[in-house]
Amino acid sequence: MVNQSKKVLNKDITKLVNQTYQYGFSTNIEKDIIEKGLNEKTIQLISRKKKETSFLLQFRLKAYKKWKQMSEPKWAHLKFPEINYQEIIYYSAPKLKKKLKDLSEVDPELLKTFEKLGISLSEQKRLANVAIDAVFDSVSIATTFQDELSKSGVIFASISEAINEYPDLIEKYLGSVVPIGDNYFSALNSAVFTDGSFCYIPQDTICPLDLSTYFRINDQKSGQFERTLIIAEKNSQVNYLEGCTAPQYDTNQLHAAVVELVALENASIKYSTVQNWYSGNKWGKGGVYNFVTKRGLCAGSNSKISWTQVETGSSITWKYPSCLLVGDNSQGEFYSVALTNNYQQADTGTKMIHMGKNTRSRIISKGISAGNSKNSYRGLVNITNKALSARNYSQCDSLLIGNLSNANTFPFISVQNSTSKIEHEASTSKIGEEQIFYFLQRGIELEKAIELMISGFCKEIFTELPLEFAAEADKLLTLKLEGSVG
């Protein structure tokens, strides 16, 4: 007896078993660690280690006080065991003998790690026209092209460096978009953040290179709390890319980042992320808890902030890149692909808060759920009474693969004036056996069929990504879905 159905399925299951997370290795390196656990002393120690100003220490302590009074948000469509915040290491840095002047002084083990990840810190990247800041556990390792950028007045540095060298900018903008008490995780981040990136684009400047940060959690028990602050002055423009990976561990690692963007008059910031933290094994063990607050402030008129994200990793994703559209005629955009497989859970979306006149926002969200995963879109479009003639267009599409995955959409809309216009479209579809069979019957193999359907589904998002990111994202999605269709 030949059971054709079993045959196809078996082939896929075998592939599923063999599927690997290619960034799952860890690096053995001497580290400078602050004992696990969180209290005022930990924070003082972090601040001292980083030789920070008293402004920053006060900022941290205030955040810590707020955090202690808050509790973890429970409204998201996510289930996970309680996080023990005292079991986390809040500071873990590769031991550096002295301040580095040159890439050749970086520990070769570290360079090898980034090399393995496909992140070349050496000047080869010149060809790709991307300047990189690489963050390893808690500390920024190297920022490339600083000299080149400074010629045009662009500051691209690790946030630690910026805290010491540009205290005025830091004091003015840090916490101005995401206040320290904004939410539980942003408060935690504000108290303990260790590094991240800082960019400042001066007036009338188009940043000559794409800026990029690469985040890597290496330590098993350390959390990563990075902080990114980007300021685009009047008539300036910048493209920013962010990539993330982590080793494969059985335990969960916490990642709670805060990203703040400020766009002044006529300025434009485009922020793209390809998130590929380790997502746990196929039974849901291990993986990164990703609780991120990303928010952009369109402060000036005609300013524009655009978020593009491809979320493929993490065991839990809690993330709502948002735009505060304060300036008249300002624009916010959110383009997202969120893919979940196995036991991954994602609750992600955006908030578009319209305050200025003629403000416009556009939301295109594509959720793909496979395996036993849960994938939710959660969005808020809030048009205040002063935001006359504001417009929003939202489109939320879900794609289900298999019979055990779950897709949800929670759109909240609030309109407080009668001159605004809102459109919301949503669809749910499924890659079914019959579609696959159609491809196969025409001689097109399974992998190719899935790839074609997924990239067709995500087309609108991928066109928003910088070219090399788009190709990577396409590959990543196909890889992640390998074997999930039977």
Binding site: V8, Q441, G443, M453, G456
Partner: protein
Amino acid sequence: MISKYSLLEIKDLQVSINDNEILKKLNLTIEKGEIHAIMGPNGSGKSTFSKVIAGHPSYSVLNGEILFKGSSILNLEPEERSHLGIFLAFQYPIEIPGVSNEDFLRLAYNSKQRFYNKPEVDPIEFLGIINEKLKLVNMSPRFLSRNVNEGFSGGEKKRNEILQMLLLNPDLSILDETDSGLDIDALKIISKGINNFMDSNKAILLITHYQRLLDYINPTYVHVMQDGQIIKTGSAKLAKELEEKGYEWLQI
């Protein structure tokens, strides 16, 4: 040279889905150059039969054998059967959102090229190939940029199936109710396409409810299927008789 093997030979085929036996000891042999028509009432197993030959994963072959060009294909994947020259024009061609017809057709064409170690064609070369075929089924090139079957009318979907058949040039084409839902003009176009395509090295298996299609395509044999078996085989005349007397006429 005359091959000693039949193109398709089906012996005592027993097939089930979800423990329901659909095909019961079905036998059929098709030689090159022949057109076979299978007729029969709803639920007699005609569509199941076509999908089983193409290797649909939902069906279990309990017993029997399917030989294509002399070798068993029961252990072959659907895509391998396709490469060997088996084509199924679906009764309900499925819509594939986000995938353009052009990409889909080129990928199918190149998959076959690759299988036979022939060079793959680039998009521009492909356009030349597909444009020739489009003319044969009276389709406008604008179909290429539309998503596969998405928003196509019933007739357009069926024409798209025939277009794919012409492109992939299979040895055995199984046309599952390709005539249903077509108006008379479309039926004429499709029939003409099929007749021009047919030659002495190929075979066609038509699955149909109605005799109408057989006014345009002349079958070598007509089979009547009922309850998972072929209960009568005859010439084209049999179809005419069925049309007049209904399937009841054959009930014993």
